[in-house]
Amino acid sequence: MRIHFVVSALALASLLAACSSPAPQWDATDHVASYTDLATRTYEESVEKAERFATAIDAFLASPDDTTLALARDSWIEARLPYGRSEVFRFYGGPIDGIDPATGEEGPEIQLNSWPLNEAFLDYVVGNPEAGIVNDLDFVLDRDTLVQNNAVHDEADVTTGWHAIEFLLWGQDLDPVGAGNRPASDYEPGDPIRDRRRQVLTLLTEQLVEDLRWVRDRWQASYGDELTALPQDEALSKIFSGVATLAGFEMAGERLGAALDSGEQEDEHSCFSDTTHLDFRANLEGLIQVFSGRYESVDGTVTTEGHGLRELIASVDPDQAAVLENLLAESWQTLERLDPPFDAVLRSPPGSTHRITTEELIVHLQQFAEGMVTAGESLGIEVVIAAE
């Protein structure tokens, strides 16, 4: 029993410590306000670009040829950028991935961005020309059915979102150098299967736009206010945790580290379009924007200067703020040195420049994430790197 008693005493001490929260030496009113403004703007931009993408899909389906397909693919890539930036607003139960306490509804993150996906669950693949729900005439095509069938028996049985659409636009990436190259003729009307494919693409695009609007509306209508109304340490705990988790877990661990460690070429986030490097870039831009408080739209036409986390951290620990800023800058420079496509990195042998550079990027991001936890300690807030 002795050991239990010792542990109890420790638990007692920690619980008592948790009870008393000394008055903070800082005021984060402006920083939380800037953050909510940044999040709202980013989702507004994400919706805007997704709507433009939907228009491009309409144009493509109205007359499917190489030109309209190329335009549709380009607008998918463009729409991914603000979305990639918005991923810094994940990981703490906010609108994108939390449960709305008012309605019990879960945010659409899984619906929007699931990967990897079982290609053959969705459409034909090499060796199986009749695979997937596109070819399965018994599968009812409407948005509800597609949403309800997302990841039901297998997390990779993805039927909705960015990467399902990506597969529908690019097809399998069987090219060691380039991206997938599904022919525009796959969408020629007048054949039952091709008509189904047209329908799936339309429905998934509609769903994507609707899901993004839902998140934007939550931020516009109430979530910003909810965050502002929280005790500041709680709001900051969410904000910091989102930043640290995107850098340390999602980017360094999942998208870079595990991809390198598994040793498979197509183990990358946007594998069909070979645009994974742009995902990294957008994720990093999201981190930089929240850290600096400076918003700049993807096309560079709108900029606002706000109060970033850097300023807040610097108010209690200027050295740590500088360290973190430097790590973000180094991450950016390292990413710039990484020649796309990312599957070439995955294919490269151990010891190659590609891999060494990627490992450097991983270390910078991990150090940044840990640095955010340290900065949180200086501010007296809990920062969780949420591994999900």
């Binding site: 079982n118 661990g253 595990a258 840990e370 591994a387």
Partner: protein, 465 residues
Amino acid sequence: MRPFLISFLCLTTTVWLACRPDPGGDPLSGGEPLSGGELTVFDTASTAFGRSAPTLPVAELRQVNLGNKLFNTNWVIAPSSTTKFDGLGPLFNRVSCSGCHLRDGRGRAPSGPDEAPESMLIRLSVPGEDQHGGPEPHPMYGGQLQDRAIPGVRAEARIEIHWIEQPGTYPDGTQYSLREPDIRLIDLAHGPLGDDTMMSMRVAPAVFGGGLLEAIPESELARVADPDDLDGDGISGRLNRVWDLERGAMSTGRFGWKAGVPTLRQQNASAFAGDIGIISTLVPVTDITSHQESLLEDVMSGGDPELDNHFLDRLTFYTQTLAVPARRDVDDPRARRGETLFADIGCASCHLPAVITGNDHPIPQLRNQTIHPYTDLLLHDMGEALADQRPEFVATGNEWRTPPLWGLGLIPVVNGHSELLHDGRARSIEEAVLWHGGEAEASKDRFTELDASDRDALLTFLASL
């Protein structure tokens, strides 16, 4: 059953209440939200079972990520372009871990004969014991039935589950209905199983929290065990002793519905071999018997081993460090009432509310954690109605390991169903309670004798876990 950490519980409860706005009077009320100690996560969404220990250093998250990837990887037929992930089958149940343990959660039984099993399997054995005292595999079909196979190979059988309803009535007149599976095997590849074959239908359990269960000191389990019911409370509680492949010796069983496996590493390697047909250094053979070796003639191996050792390490690390979702509604008066009743009617005798992990688990984050798994990891006679009549080492045909109850209320959110028990027969927490028999018969009876409001309170408490 012996008193369990009472002094400790009182102390922490008091301290915890000291922080709370409304302390309440009963020491058992108010409960404890930190179900997994420092490995508790606050997530009530469909990701609730898939989160890793928040205490892991950031560098180790990379291992978690690879482990998670391996958990979700769909294994393919060898040879393939993805050489690290091939060697599926030739006989298998599912092609990935997450195929059965979707989002690190719980599987379910088919709802009827037309639905193929997606997250359950059927274990087989014949009378006798293997060389280590474990179940003797069926001479033709092996230790479990694989209902899928790669192209060109015949699956062992098609599994059809028919449900038989059994109506029942509470003492207060309220009616209920329980269902029992009738397992039918169609298209048996190698002829009938034989009359002496024992079958046990097993649904995939949730994966999270396993590392913490692994870290409970063996001495603690032994202390709680009461194999001969010396305290005369009608509840025994026995440790399973099972074959440990790594140690090459008998060890305490902790995992599986009858605690037939000692460690998560062995559990993972065994599942790879039996369920996916992927061999590792630890479990170098699949479930193919000597009579089925002709199946292998035209089948390519995915390597020897097919699962790299460091992949098994990463996967095991991942399963060991999966965190536990926090308890919800701790302050809800109804849940608090239910928690009191849970102790009063004897549920807590086996579903132990608290335990402290040891200080020697290889993963430091798992050490010295006060956790609330609601299990003693011991074997209990659960009565004839639940019995599978298939012994597994020490466990008799009537005995089952107390399953942990943490996360119970989140299964619908994560896995879209509320089915419980080893074969998924219970469609709700209430039905699971009503199936309790044997050593749990008295507690079950006390439950049925509660008035409707108290029964509801107890179920509310369980759903808050």
